[in-house]
């Protein structure tokens, strides 16, 4: 169980735990799993781990540039905006993330249980 967060940024550990070009997951109790991506250019992004198409686990896709190709039916999703690229339409919620002194922080307020409005 997590201890109470300090401020609004939640420390989810060191950047080194996610290899470049891969993603790891962060289950949310009572909410939707989060995928944290590390691109090959060294940026980090957090999104709900669910494709806008048919909820494929984006964390398992191939990461290229700042997009990920969904492992189920190859939609390309922008890691920056969560928007589906090209002809496909749909959007996955993104979670603000920052890197500070080699550690990753998620915006606490943005981690929400499924179905609840943001300002719970």
């Amino acid at each position: 169980m997590m201890s109470a967060p300090v401020g609004t940024w939640l420390d989810i550990g060191p950047t080194t735990q996610i290899a470049p070009g891969t993603a790891r997951t962060l289950p949310v109790v009572g909410g939707e799993e989060i995928a944290v991506f590390h691109t090959m250019r060294g940026e980090f992004y957090a999104l709900v781990n669910s494709c806008p198409h048919k909820q494929g686990p984006l964390s398992q896709g191939i990461v290229h540039g700042d997009t990920v190709t969904c492992p189920l039916h190859n939609w390309r999703i922008s890691l920056r905006t969560g928007e589906a690229q090209g002809d496909d339409e749909g959007c996955t919620p993104t979670i603000p993330l920052k890197v500070d002194s080699g550690r990753l922080f998620l915006l606490r307020e943005a981690v929400i249980p499924s179905g609840k409005p943001k300002a719970a």
Partner: protein, 826 residues
Amino acid sequence: MNAPTKLPQPAKEKLVVIGNGMAGCRAVEELLERDPDRYSVTIFGAEPRVNYNRIMLSPVLAGEKTFDEIVINSAEWYAENGIELVGGDPVEQIDRQAKSIIAKSGRVEPYDKLLIATGSDPFIIPIPGNDLAGVVTFRDLDDVDKMLAAAQQGGDAVVIGGGLLGLEAAHGLSLRGMKVTVVHLMPALMERQLDEAAGYLLRQELESRGQTILTSANTKVIHGVEGKVVGIELEDGTKVKADIVVMAAGIKPSTSLARSADLECERGIVVDDNMVTSDSDILAVGECVQHRGTCYGLVAPLWDMCRSLADYLTGAPNGYEGSVTSTKLKVSGIDLFSAGDFSGGDGCEDIVMRDAARGVYKRVVLKDDKIIGAVLYGDTADGNWYFDLLKKEEDVADIREGLIFGQAFASGGALADPNAAVAALSDDAEICGCNGVSKGKVISCIAKGAHSVDAVRSTCKASASCGSCTNLVESLLALTLGDDVQTGPRTLCKCTSFTHDDVRRLILEKELKVIPEVMQELHWTTPEGCASCRPALNYYLLCAWPGEYEDDEKSRYVNERLHANIQKDGTYSVVPRMWGGLTTPDELRAIADAAEKYGARTVKVTGGQRIDLFGIKKEDLPAIWGDLNAAGMVSGHAYGKALRTVKTCVGSEWCRFGTQDSTGLGVKIERMTWGSYMPHKFKIAVSGCPRNCAEATIKDFGVVCVDSGYELHVGGNGGIHVRATDLLCKVETEEQAMEYCAAFIQLYREDAHYLERTAPWLERKGLDWIKSQLFDDPDAIKNYAKRFRFSQKFWQVDPWANRAGGAHKDLHSHLAEVRPLSMENA
């Protein structure tokens, strides 16, 4: 002697051209296009070779092109057009009174019109040591050869000058394995083309590639030992070791010949709007001229000059009005564009966009609602559009809001439609910078029948040099022809203009060993490729370099990365191997236990004679694999572009019709082939008689046992398009059946395109081709099989055991678990 009587011919005027470079030859081409019969042409060139694309010397140095690939006009071209080329014989004197020139060889050539196109000379900074052996310039092929010779010895290179030329030299030498230091006088790289921000990004990128960049650095002396360079010393005392020093500190118009003939010269040879010098029979074009006070150092202006010159010489003068230039750096992987004036200042307005995450910097400078300059770094897709607006002096007030986001956005159109963007370009917009080809020219060449990229390349040369405009040409083809475009061999994916076959061949030829290297060397147009090319490259490399290549997990589709099949709910299925479809009570017990322990929601017998456990969580995979391993089972690769199953029937051991031990042979074959990655999945079957209960004739490789031996069938498929196999041959022994199987697989592995199963592959290549590969050379079977077995040494390791033993834990475990704030508070 009796000369044969000649028919009187209209006397052609005699045109002599000095300089067989880019401008000289282009001028002649333009003339031929307008009036091929008007002049009889002789070209003198100081270089002993045909005309080539000088700007492509950089890719030649970098090893991305060969000299043959950058030749513009071959010897045949001169011959066909009746042009005499006098190569390797520089002109030394112009006798204006006699209207003739004198070359170094002593040859005297009279002219009616003389064209000077002597280009530029590299600027040699006047410091001690600048004449030592090992100090080279970067202007022609001989220079490149000198640099290549030096680079072969390895060691250190110093490049003096951090402009376009210097950086391209540095890039080439560094790709050739030298340790490179760039010494630049000014505080920022390419300061004439870039502003500070872009210069900084560029510098960071180059440094991250291992180059040392010294700015505000004034070279004081070049040190030598025994007449050969050993290093340089800067004004501030810094010393840098060097086995070669490249002077790339600038160029100056080559005017000495003109000066000695008393033609009016300032910085360059002064010409009027028709490119005529102070002598009305002598013209000049290219870098050697000064027009309306300006000397140019890029190719685009000389295309314009040559058009005006040819118009004038064929009696239809049009007048050259000067050119606005833009610059691109030809260093693979660095996107950089600059055009016009961006020094800013009074009345100027900047629009800037930075995207640090993407490493993008864009700046457009406006004056009176017109674009006067642009600098783009990291994303240069809109360079041509800005440049077009700039040249046309278009009023951009209406689109100012969206201007910086690029053409698609600003024109409010479909954001990602490249065709619309290309359609919007004007007819004289430049498509191919390397060869100076406008949109109008490409379209007319398409209209005349060039219906593929290759055809366009060979007709008007657009996209024939560096290839960076290939996508523009493709768009033009699509716009002009609609569905009639001939797509030629398909490229591997959108990131490259190479086909699968090209890529496979070049990986071997250039000995490319890792994915980024392939992308770099083969001009990938995206920094990291895409979900199509990455898995393909990973496979091609692992096939090409068994034992050497380290598998790139992040370039694998999820199934191969997780060694299980992903299901629609994000869980996985687990299929342990059952050799030849055989199992034992112990194995079945272990499977049953695992199914219960890890909550498999469905247990199913597959179409491939084994058992599939569905609904396993990714966290549980290593553990269930560990349990199955403990019972002696390994991965079935049901998820892989790899050997899947070897299906067997009961065969002679039990079946009343069985002719051979089909089960036993199937097990042996599976033991030999399991673990091998292939272009696509690969299925094998062995049937004990022609009744073919194992369905061997719809498998990639099928064996049908008969009394006298084994029929080997290939290229079958039971999937989307059912295809029955072709008979490859018949063999007598089990050993032969196995040897041929290994050989056929290896041929498929080495030749097929990624994601091409044996059936379409065989149809593409033809059964005869396959047979000739395997049978023409009596050693072929042995050699292919040997290569297969060698590769298997490295790939017959159970990936499950690895993971069960703790490898790649990160792929199977979560980061911390979190709770939404609302729940915490509740």
